[in-house]
């Protein structure tokens, strides 16, 4: 099977995941009556506008009420509110996909709009920056440390790392973040406790970038603390396993220098499984981003989640759930391409 076909299958199965999530979301919304609530809010919003327009033309209050009643019925029919919720599923799916979920209750975008799509779209880059930086740094540090440690199995460093990864498995990263704030921000006053920029943000581009980096240190460290331990450990194990393979022994027996054995034989063969591990790590990081952003008030989608929960903002939560799934699937697909092009064996 060719490369394209493999990727097509993976792509389709990820699309299926997105679709299943979407379906689950709209069914839960319909069955619990939340979709009714959202659509009714829509209707009353439109009615309010119509009332304003009509009250200019129709003077008689009774006439006005009658006309409005007719409009209301029309609108309810248009939105499908006269039918049970399961007839509205396709329409609801369309709404979620288009982020056409009306307005949020209290939360607004930075520019003041309270349209759900506006609020979310401007937050996406902030989350993507944070997660990408943290994942790339973790991959860099995790893999190189793992490989290094694999060459010194049983050493003190090796044992420390093993304990570190065991502790990191049991450590809630968001709590680590809170402790970071307590130590570095409250006691030592070294780093800002949260946000993306100081208030007011510096105007000069260079100072602005510096300010951003200063604010990013703790959130990135927190995200890394959550994933790094596991990655070092897994990279170490994979490299160790590959190093015990026969073809590595054969290369050594040929008298190849250790440097070349390491680079051409061990590392090349270890890359695909390590990459698989990172692919799955992205999932953890996205979930971790929700918590980390909350702790550091980093204005991304994760913090928005928390704000929406606190404000009981249903449309926002629905839209965020969908966008998170979508971004996750997209990230998975990009890494899948990388993965398939690196490891010829995966082409099934």
């Amino acid at each position: 099977m060719g490369l394209g076909r493999t990727l097509l299958i993976r792509g389709l199965s990820l699309l299926l995941v997105v679709f299943v999530v979407l379906l689950m979301v709209v069914i839960v919304l319909g069955a619990t009556g939340v979709s009714d609530k959202i659509l009714k809010a829509y209707v009353s919003e439109e009615l309010r506008q119509i009332r304003q327009e009509l009250s200019q033309r129709i003077r008689d209050p009774q006439e006005l009420e009658k006309a409005l009643e007719a409009y209301k019925l029309d609108l309810e029919r248009a939105f499908g509110l006269d039918k049970p919720w399961y007839f509205r599923l396709p329409d609801m799916v369309r709404r979620v996909v288009m982020l056409d979920l009306g307005t949020s209750r209290t939360i607004t975008s930075f520019s003041g709009s309270n349209k759900v799509s506006d609020i979310i779209l401007e937050r996406i880059p902030n989350t993507v920056i944070l997660v990408t930086v943290a994942v790339m740094l973790s991959a860099l540090v995790g893999i190189s440390a793992g490989v290094k440690i694999a060459t010194r199995v049983g050493s003190l460093l090796d044992r420390i790392t093993s304990y570190f990864s065991a502790v990191s498995y049991a450590l809630p990263s968001w709590w680590t973040g809170i402790i970071f704030i307590l130590i570095f921000s409250f006691y030592f006053r070294l780093l800002p406790p949260g946000g993306m920029y100081s208030t007011p943000p510096p105007q000069e581009p260079l100072a602005r970038l510096l300010d951003l980096m200063l604010h990013a240190v703790l959130p990135v460290l927190t995200l890394m603390a959550a994933i790094l331990g596991g990655w070092i450990y897994v990279s170490r194990t994979i490299v160790l396993n590959v190093a015990q393979e026969d073809f590595v022994s054969a290369a050594r027996a040929k008298g190849l220098p250790e440097r070349i054995v390491m680079r051409r034989y061990i590392l090349r063969a270890s890359t695909p499984p390590i990459l698989t591990n990172i692919v799955f790590g992205i999932a953890g990081s996205l979930g971790g981003a929700i918590l980390t952003e909350t702790v550091f008030r980093w204005p991304g989608m994760g913090l928005l989640y928390y704000e929406a929960i606190t404000a009981f903002d249903e449309p926002l939560i629905i839209a965020l759930t969908f966008i998170f799934t979508l971004i996750y699937a997209a990230a998975r697909f990009i890494l899948e391409i990388l993965y398939v092009s690196l490891d010829p064996r995966v082409r099934y």
């Binding site: 979301v25 939340v34 049991a170 709590w175 929960i309 939560i317």
Partner: protein, 480 residues
């Protein structure tokens, strides 16, 4: 079988990490049992999340033992509750019965109390409504009547004896009450010749004036010595009585772990978190393992269409980003502990299923299974009587290893504000501490202990899993 079990236990027990794990587990279980037997079931709603239960506790103060690390003598929390009057007499000239409840204490702290409050419970009278006075005598001889309570008289249709404040006690927050400030303003004028308006007194803090002597300007320094608080019940009938009177001199430290900004004793809440965390961890992983293993065995052994369907479902669920979907479902369906457990199981089983299936694929071709088939054993019998026991040790280790994930997931959800409001957990305490800004003002006793307990519980199971590894995977035994 018994022999192998003993051997497995020997291997397990021989490592220090298992001993540590077992010890920690024993502590967790003992504390949980203590809580289960001593706490009321409705603890969350009736006590923990009920602010009126915590009014007489100091707000946001560190644990009591921190006083050993400061040079100052920090005020401890004192609650004085008196049930029996120390003096009862009849004043003929006024025709009144006087009952006096006296509290005497030696105040030797370097700091002012954080607040003062006064409570009266269950006033009973048969004719005229009594009057209650609160008087304080200070070490310097100054005394003042700082509060007067006129008990409301009988209403139409009510019959004697009349009961007042028998359901909810009458409570005055003395540090902030306008009439107290007025009385203190009068006391300062009379005894110290200082003019301060009641508003100024409330800004300084009535407790500082009552427990202090005037310094330069509007400053007060602590007046140490013996104080006497008298609560006087003046009534027209000898039988009239008071259930109890209570005077609170609020401290600046409290208990083992301190209090949060509502005055809740954190030690009490943290203890309650033990059984909840264990329950969530154990129930979730047991169910996840049961579902995951059964699905894996069926998928691997039966094969064909069943296998395809199970693997497809497992693959889809395995690829759903967990936290966003959990947030969505719990938010829409309203938080409850059983919903959280159900969802963690519903989205947690596929990982195990995929591993178990691959193990079964190897086992189903073994000679043992072939022999069973030849003997005519049913599919179910083979799967669960013959195949399952072979992978059971591995499954058990997996179960222990998965427990921290469930505990951490619940803590994360609680931290996001999606915890079950009827069951306080460590995550919820952290959520409240974070939301209330406890981190930014350095309330470490509110932030550090709950997180440490989460880590402790999670790491207990990590230790157990590490200890089990050489049992399950004999190749690792060479280190012994």
């Amino acid at each position: 079988m018994a022999e192998t079990r003993r051997e497995a236990w020997r291997v397990f027990w021989s490592s220090n990490i298992s001993k540590l794990g077992i010890t920690l587990l024993a502590i967790l279980v003992i504390v949980s049992l203590y809580v289960v037997f001593t706490y009321p079931l409705d603890f969350g709603l009736k006590y923990w999340n009920n602010p009126s239960h915590w009014v007489d506790y100091p707000k946001g103060v560190p644990p009591e033992w921190t006083k050993y690390f400061t040079s100052e003598n920090v005020t401890e929390h004192r609650i004085y509750t008196i049930y029996v009057p120390s003096e009862s007499r009849f004043v003929e000239s006024a025709g009144l019965y006087i009952k006096r409840y006296s509290i005497t204490f030696d105040y030797q702290y370097d700091e002012f109390p954080s607040f003062l409050s006064f409570t009266v419970f269950n006033v009973t009278f048969s004719r005229e409504p009594p009057i209650i006075f609160l008087e304080i005598s200070r070490p310097d001889g100054v005394s003042a009547r700082i509060y007067t309570l006129a008990v409301p008289g009988p209403q139409e249709g009510e019959e004697a004896p009349y009961m007042r404040y028998s359901e909810t006690p009458f409570r005055v927050f003395l540090s902030g009450d306008p009439s107290v400030a007025q009385q203190l303003s009068r006391m300062l004028k009379r005894d110290f010749d200082i003019s301060l308006t009641p508003t100024e007194i409330n800004t300084i803090g009535p407790e500082k004036i009552l427990f202090g002597k005037p310094d330069v300007g509007k400053n007060f320094t602590v007046l140490k010595g013996v104080y006497r608080v008298d609560v006087v019940l003046a009534s027209g009938d000898e039988e009239d009585s008071v259930g109890y009177v209570r005077f609170v001199v609020a401290g600046n430290v409290y208990g083992w772990v301190g209090t949060d900004s509502l005055g809740r004793d954190l030690a009490v809440g943290l203890l309650f978190g033990f059984p909840v965390a264990l329950l969530i961890g154990v129930v979730t992983t047991t169910l996840t393992t049961a579902v995951g293993t059964s699905a894996g065995i069926i998928s691997g052994y039966i094969g064909g269409k069943t296998d395809d369907i199970i693997q497809r479902i497992a693959d889809i669920i395995n690829n759903i980003p967990l936290l966003p979907i959990l947030i969505f479902l719990i938010f829409i369906l309203k938080p409850s502990i059983w919903l959280i457990v159900f969802l963690l199981v519903a989205f947690g089983w596929p990982g195990l299923t995929i591993i178990v299936r691959s193990m079964i694929l190897q086992l189903r071709t073994s000679q043992l299974v072939e022999a069973e088939v030849a003997l005519g054993a049913s599919k179910w019998r083979i799967m669960f009587r013959h195949i399952f026991p072979q992978i059971a040790p591995f499954i058990f280790a997996q179960m222990i290893f998965a427990t921290p994930t469930a505990i951490l997931a619940e803590a994360a959800l609680s931290f996001l504000g999606l915890g079950d409001p009827s069951l306080p957990t460590w995550g919820q305490i952290l959520n409240y501490g974070f939301r209330d800004g406890g981190v930014y003002v350095g309330y470490w006793w509110w932030i550090v202990p709950p997180g440490l307990l989460i880590v402790l519980t999670a790491i207990t199971f990590v230790f157990l899993a590490l200890g089990l590894e050489p049992v399950v995977n004999p190749r690792l035994r060479r280190f012994k």
